[in-house]
Amino acid sequence: MKTTTLIAAAAATVLTLGGVSACGSSSSDSGSGSGGTVASGLIFGGPAEFKTRTDGIPGLQKTYGVKFAKYTVTDTGGPVTVGALKRGQIDAADLFTTDPSIEANDFVVLEDPKSNFKAQNIVPIINKTKATDGTKQVLNAIQAKLTTDGLGALLDKIQNDKEDPDAVAKEWLDDQDLDGAGTLAKGVSLTVGSANFPENVVLADIYADALSNQGATVTKKLNIGSREKYYPALKSGSLDLFPEYTGTILAYLDATSTVSTPDDVYAALAKALPANLVALDKADAEDSDAVVVTKQTAEKYDLKSIADLARTAK
């Protein structure tokens, strides 16, 4: 019996070439005529952790009553997710609001009126010993100028024009008049890290370059994989500065936290951080998770908000 299961599974997973069919949703094109919700005919794609995160699949179900037909693990807002959504392997995806490929592909970001997703303001997390007045001043000046749209523009340059993140960072500092040489951070030596997606890299480059201009001795350790890899390094002191997102770092530190507005999240984060780490000013710029669908899907089901996914399909 187990052999049969194995063979059937092998056939289903490999040979049908389908990301579908696990629960009999024949295809999104035919909709589910049987009176299910819109979501029950759709396949959702996103990173593995979105499946279990409180504001991920469980959150969507709890807040909006949205239940997808199936979950396909793709990547964290990267090429796999975008490609899969674009080419119809999945119908809805977890992408990030600053992602230029949303605009490039005419994807539709579904509104989140009930704030399922936590606020995701950009925030530098820094080791307390390195948080001198000078470094704080340099970094907070940057934080004050970061906007969501501005971030999207930076990302576009990297992703679509293939510009070097460090060059983009320098260019931005120049544009914002933040590239002046000085001595604010003189005598500080620190290691700046970043996760392995372009936005995080360019933010780290911006921090690092500005501090370097102000006399700090900076070492870059960019493109470190996921948070599970870099956070312990940050905590243990082998990294000193990291561009973070208020919502995700809070969720990482305190999985039970339910706050979602920018200020609540920021306040909760300050409490959740260990004693040796401190969050500097949060920026207006936000890069939050979003449920994204293609234009065709949005039009077909008349989708504007995540809540619409829970409607009965026509």
Partner: protein
């Protein structure tokens, strides 16, 4: 740590599939599926080629070329192929990721099978081949009735090496969204679910081990005792010639 890994492995919930979570049985099936497809293609390509090259002595550059392919970084080739191939597939299909993955796995499996089939035929003692021709066997008869049976130990060792590499490497299918046991490793890493991640690694190792045992069993019956020298009177160590068959990346 060991306890929580065991707990994860022994939880029947983890073996069943739900719409959101593909269970161990299904991922095991997918993993076996990837492996079987890759090995079948690799054997179809490499075994006849290796036998014929060994038999005729012509085209041995192909063996060297296949071995040089081992220098290719598996991940790099996978990424390149995904980037090239996946945009051509639309709709509910994972072919855009499956095809690159299978190509990478086949590329990985071909060199050991090819070079061992070649070496196996080459290693048949010249006087045995001479006797076979001298008795009036035709070329294909010599290959099929004499060279192949004598090359079997090496062919099996090449196949086993290829199989272990493919099973280990099939985990990177999950790097490009496919299923398979690698899913547990990558998902466990992302979800900070270390028992799941280690459990996945344990499952891969177990699959490799069990597959190797099964093939060893087949080998026992497929290879003539005259070649394997497993005689009842012989108490010496197993005389399987372990030619360097170069395991590679997983």
């Amino acid at each position: 740590m060991i306890g929580s890994v065991l707990g994860w492995l022994l939880d029947p919930e983890h073996w069943r599939s739900t719409p959101f979570d593909t269970g161990i049985w299904a991922q095991l099936g997918a993993h076996v599926g990837f492996t079987l497809i890759a090995l079948a293609i690799a054997v179809l390509l490499a075994l006849p080629a290796g036998l014929v090259i060994g038999h005729t002595g012509r085209g041995s550059w192909l063996v060297s070329a296949a071995n040089a392919v081992r220098a290719l970084p598996t991940v790099g080739v996978l990424v390149l192929l995904v980037v090239v191939i996946s945009p051509h597939f639309y709709g509910r299909t994972n072919a855009g990721f499956l095809i690159p993955t299978e190509i990478v796995l086949v590329v990985l499996a071909v060199p050991p099978i090819l070079s061992n089939a070649y070496a196996g035929v080459q290693n048949v003692p010249p006087q045995v081949r001479d006797a076979a021709f001298g008795m009036g066997m035709t070329g294909p008869q010599v290959l099929g009735r004499v060279e192949l049976p004598n090359a079997l130990p090496l062919i099996f060792s090449g196949f086993r090496s290829a199989m272990l590499q493919v099973i280990a490497t099939a985990t990177i299918a999950s790097y490009v969204t496919l299923g398979g046991l690698g899913r547990f490793i990558y998902d466990g890493l992302a979800q900070k679910d270390y028992p799941q991640m280690i459990g996945g690694a344990v499952l891969v190792a177990a699959l490799a081990l069990i597959s190797d045992l099964l093939v060893a069993l087949v080998q026992r019956y497929a290879v003539s005792r005259g070649v394997s020298r497993r005689f009842r009177t012989d108490t010496g160590p197993d005389s399987r010639t372990a030619v360097l068959v170069e395991e590679d990346v997983r």
